[in-house]
Structure formats: structure tokens, C-alpha cells
């Protein structure tokens, strides 16, 4: 084995840092990753509390329909709509509102809304992908993410969204938490729950549309849900859990980007695999910790019952 082989990962890691310092596309990728790594678990936490984890997957599939229609407008009808992402964002918000409407319509079978919207999204996607030229590299990027190719304009959109979300959460923190944890009680306090649902649904749709750029349609829900699932097991309070979820998510994004650069595999996959690894690690450590606690308890009880 040559000495270069041993130090290859180190050289590649240094190359990763150099690339971030020197290459604009890497800086954009890092910025997008860090912002989505912050936004996704933050919004995801409220989604998990409301037991709506499937909504992220549903909306990402519905957003794909919007992106496919955008491609059809550009490639076939030659309409100057700019980026298909705009149509994707409109679809994400429309899908979110459609889910809300269906949840209200099927009061006792609220989960029915998800398969209806996901089926419609997938059917429209299949139709318009086929009409606009089939399975191209653009479609592949929609499915698995293309963080290395994000535009400067996308950075502006995601920065603005992040600022809006932070301001809204800071201003309406109490009401958002009450509505998420206990909708009936929020109504009793005179909070207009429907207006709140409407705005949070719109924000959820927008964040999902933007997250697709990072990890793609098929993996977007994992970015929102998995860090929260891991943080729930170790968080000591609500704010502490949010913070841990964001830290887990940012760690996955940074490690995922690094591994993707070093090994040359898609970043969406590496980010999500790091997310899953953190979750597994948390579950294993928790399990070991609880076994240790039980053993400690047993031995102290045995100590007490020993005959003198």
C-alpha cells in the first residue's frame, strides 16, 4: 500500500475544504445545505407533534407534479416561465391546502387525504414527465436532489424563506406551540386555529419545495422527520428537542456533503444516510443506557435484601 493511499481521505477532505473556500458552486451548496438543515427539522418538529409525518412525502410527490408541468411548459410549449421550481412551489402550497380541505371533509378518516394527494401527484408527474421528454437528468435531479447546481437566485429565495419562518415562529411562538400540541385547547383560548393551519400549511409547502433541491423528492421527508425522531428520544424539553434536531440535521448535511465530495456519490443519499446513522446511534445508546440503569437498580435492590 502506497503512503498516498493511506492519506488519500485526508487529501480529499482538504480538497473539500479548499473547494468550499474557492468554488462558488460549493459555497452555494453549503449555504443551501445549512439553511435547509435548519429549516427542515424546525418545521418537521411541528409536523411530528401533529402526527402528520406522512405529509412531507405526500407534498414532495405533489411538488414533483408541479416541477414536471414546469418542464412541460418550458420544453414543449416553450413558455418563458423561468425555473420550474416556481410551479413546484405553487403545487406544494396547493397540495398542502388540498390535504387540509380533505382532512376537514373526512373528519373521522383524516389520513385518507394523504393517499389521495400522493396518487394525484404521482399520476400527474408520470404524465408530464412523459410528455416533456421522458426521464432526463433534470428529472433525475428532482428525484434525488442536485445541491451542487443550485443558482444564486435559489439562495436568495431560501434565505428569504428562512428569515420569514424565523420571524413568524418568534412572533407567534406561544400560539404555534399551543395549536400544535392541543388544537381543542387553542380554540378554547380564542385562537383562530383555521387561520393558523392555513399559514403553517403554506410554509410547510414552501419548505418542502425548497428541500427538494437538496435531497430530492424521494428523500425530502427524511430530512424533516428523521432528525426529529432522533431528537425526541434524547430531548429534555421542547426547545431542547428542537435544538438537538437542528444539530443532528446540520451534522448530517455537513458530513453528507463531505462524503459526497470525497467518494463522489450523490449528496442527497449521503445526507439521509448520515441522518439514519445518527438515529440508529441514538436508539442503540438509549437502549444500552436503559439496560445499564436496570442492572444498577437490580443490584442496589439485591444489596438491600441481603441477609445480615
Amino acid at each position: 500500500m502506497m503512503i498516498e493511499d493511506v492519506f488519500e481521505p485526508l487529501f480529499l477532505s482538504m480538497g473539500f475544504i479548499r473547494a468550499i473556500l474557492e468554488r462558488t458552486f460549493m459555497q452555494r451548496a453549503l449555504m443551501t445545505g445549512v439553511l435547509i438543515g435548519f429549516l427542515a427539522p424546525l418545521i418537521g418538529s411541528f409536523v411530528v407533534i401533529k402526527r402528520l409525518s406522512m405529509i412531507a412525502d405526500t407534498l414532495s410527490h405533489f411538488t414533483l407534479a408541479g416541477l414536471s408541468i414546469g418542464l412541460f411548459f418550458i420544453n414543449i410549449l416553450a413558455l418563458p416561465i423561468g425555473d420550474p421550481l416556481y410551479i413546484g412551489m405553487i403545487f406544494a402550497v396547493t397540495g398542502a391546502l388540498l390535504i387540509e380541505a380533505l382532512r376537514n371533509y373526512y373528519q373521522n378518516y383524516k389520513e385518507i387525504s394523504m393517499p389521495i394527494v400522493i396518487s394525484l401527484g404521482t399520476a400527474l408527474s408520470a404524465l408530464f414527465i412523459s410528455l416533456s421528454g421522458g426521464f432526463t437528468s433534470t428529472v433525475y435531479n428532482y428525484l434525488f436532489g442536485s445541491i451542487l447546481t443550485v443558482s444564486q437566485q435559489f439562495i436568495y429565495i431560501i434565505t428569504a424563506t428562512t428569515i420569514i419562518v424565523i420571524v413568524l415562529i418568534a412572533v407567534f411562538y406561544k400560539k404555534i406551540v399551543i395549536v400544535s400540541f392541543d388544537e381543542s385547547y387553542a380554540r378554547l383560548l380564542g385562537i383562530n386555529v383555521n387561520v393558523f393551519q392555513f399559514f403553517t400549511t403554506i410554509i410547510l409547502g414552501l419548505v418542502i419545495a425548497l428541500a427538494i433541491e437538496t435531497v430530492g423528492v424521494l428523500l425530502v421527508s427524511s430530512l424533516m422527520i428523521i432528525p426529529v425522531a432522533a431528537a425526541m428520544k434524547v430531548g429534555r424539553s421542547f426547545k431542547n428537542t428542537l435544538l438537538i434536531a437542528i444539530l443532528f440535521s446540520e451534522a448530517s448535511v455537513l458530513l453528507g456533503l463531505w462524503l459526497s465530495y470525497v467518494v463522489g456519490i450523490p449528496s442527497g443519499a449521503t445526507i439521509v444516510l448520515f441522518n439514519i446513522s445518527i438515529l440508529l446511534l441514538v436508539v442503540i445508546i438509549k437502549k444500552l443506557f436503559s439496560i445499564q440503569q436496570t442492572l444498577k437498580k437490580d443490584s442496589s435492590e439485591n444489596e438491600k435484601t441481603k441477609p445480615i
Binding site: K174, L188, L189
Partner: protein, 217 residues
């Protein structure tokens, strides 16, 4: 807080649950609502809370027709079950109470309330680690966070141990003595140690007994 219910009938779909209910709760009164399961007690409370939409001019809160009433913050409610609350996600007692207080509360008032309810030492505990009795006290504290003039409690002692039940009645009797009007729904008024001033009995959606009680202790 004064509540006036005037000939209220209410039903779900084609089923009439409440029939011609009339009563008045004066400010500072302690009303006990008794009756068997399905007699309409919880439905009546949901009407008073504005959850069930009732016909016009049937309920008045502080002499305001219920549909025009906006100061819901003046009514604290402790539900029968805590099913609507998601208490599996980590959140501390303190965090729940802080978000439930819509305006600012000074630290001294907050600590004194927690002390009064007996949950001062639980304030940094995670909600999912509490017992039934502790959880009940947290939800009473939540209902009191906005200094309500009326506290409505729906079967609050179901599933709570006997020590906690005695402690609970001591607490609500004190609250009533401080001027908070109380509506307590219970199966068994004899078993309760409530210093009530008025008792209403419900059977099949009708009021069958109205009793003004002399407070004994």
C-alpha cells in the same frame, strides 16, 4: 362570571341530547353537575364553552349572548381526558404553562400559582414522565394561567388516586373561596368534598333536580 342558560335544546344530527335546559350561575358560585353517563353533562359543558354551536339567545355569558362573546380567556377548562394533548413529544410542565399564558406573567405570580397547585417541584419535569394525579394538576394549572373568572372541570377525579382527590377538592374549594366561579361535573357528588352552592342533576338530557346548597365548611 354570570352564566344564564335559557330553555336550551341541542342535538347531534337527528339525536336530541339536551332538552329545555334552564339555569343561572351567579358570579362566585360553585355548581356541581351530576348525572349518569350519557345524560348530557359533557354536551352541556361543550355548549357553554362554545365548542357546540347552539341556537341564538339560549346562553348568555356575563349578559352577552354566547355568539357575541369574545373573552374566552376568562373561562378555564380542564377536560375529562387529556387525549387531545400530545404528551409524548418532549415538553416540560413549565413550557406548557408558559405558552398557555397568552399575556406576560411576572415570575412571582407564576411561582405562587405553581406552589398553590402543588406542582412547583415538577416545573422542569417532562410531561410524559408524570402520573395521572400530577398530570391533572398540571392541566388545572394550565386552565388557571390566564386568571379565569370561571373554571369548568369535567370528571376531574376519574383515574386519580384517593390522596390526590382529597388534595384536588381542597384546591378547588380554595379557588372558589378566592372568587373563581366553578362548574364541576361529577358522577358522584356524595363522594366529592366539594363546597358547592348549587347542584344540578341531569337525566336523559333534562334537568331533573336543582338544589341550592348551604355551604357547610
Amino acid at each position: 362570571m354570570r352564566i344564564k342558560v335559557d330553555n336550551l335544546s341541542f342535538g347531534y344530527d337527528y339525536r336530541t341530547v339536551l332538552k329545555n335546559i334552564s339555569f343561572t350561575l351567579e358570579s362566585g358560585e360553585f355548581l356541581v353537575l351530576v348525572g349518569n353517563n350519557g345524560s348530557g353533562k359533557s354536551t352541556l359543558v361543550k355548549c357553554l364553552l362554545g365548542i357546540n354551536r347552539v341556537p341564538s339567545n339560549r346562553i348568555y355569558i356575563d349578559d352577552i349572548e354566547i355568539h357575541q362573546y369574545r373573552q374566552w380567556i376568562n373561562i378555564g377548562y380542564v377536560p375529562q381526558k387529556f387525549d387531545d394533548f400530545n404528551y409524548e413529544f418532549p415538553i416540560t410542565v413549565n413550557e406548557i404553562l408558559t405558552v398557555s399564558r397568552l399575556s406576560k406573567i411576572d415570575e412571582e405570580a407564576r411561582l405562587s400559582l405553581l406552589d398553590k397547585i402543588g406542582i412547583l417541584e415538577l416545573q422542569n419535569e417532562n410531561i410524559n414522565s408524570l402520573s395521572g394525579g400530577q398530570l391533572q394538576r398540571v392541566f388545572i394549572a394550565r386552565a388557571l394561567m390566564n386568571n379565569p373568572k370561571l373554571l369548568i372541570l369535567d370528571e376531574p377525579t376519574v383515574g386519580v388516586d384517593s390522596d390526590s382527590i382529597s388534595e384536588f377538592y381542597r384546591l378547588i374549594n380554595n379557588l372558589n373561596a378566592e372568587g373563581v366561579s366553578i362548574i364541576l361535573i361529577t358522577h358522584d357528588v356524595k363522594a366529592s368534598k366539594a363546597n358547592f352552592t348549587k347542584k344540578l342533576r341531569m337525566e336523559n338530557g333534562r334537568l331533573t333536580e336543582t338544589l341550592d346548597n348551604e355551604v357547610t365548611s
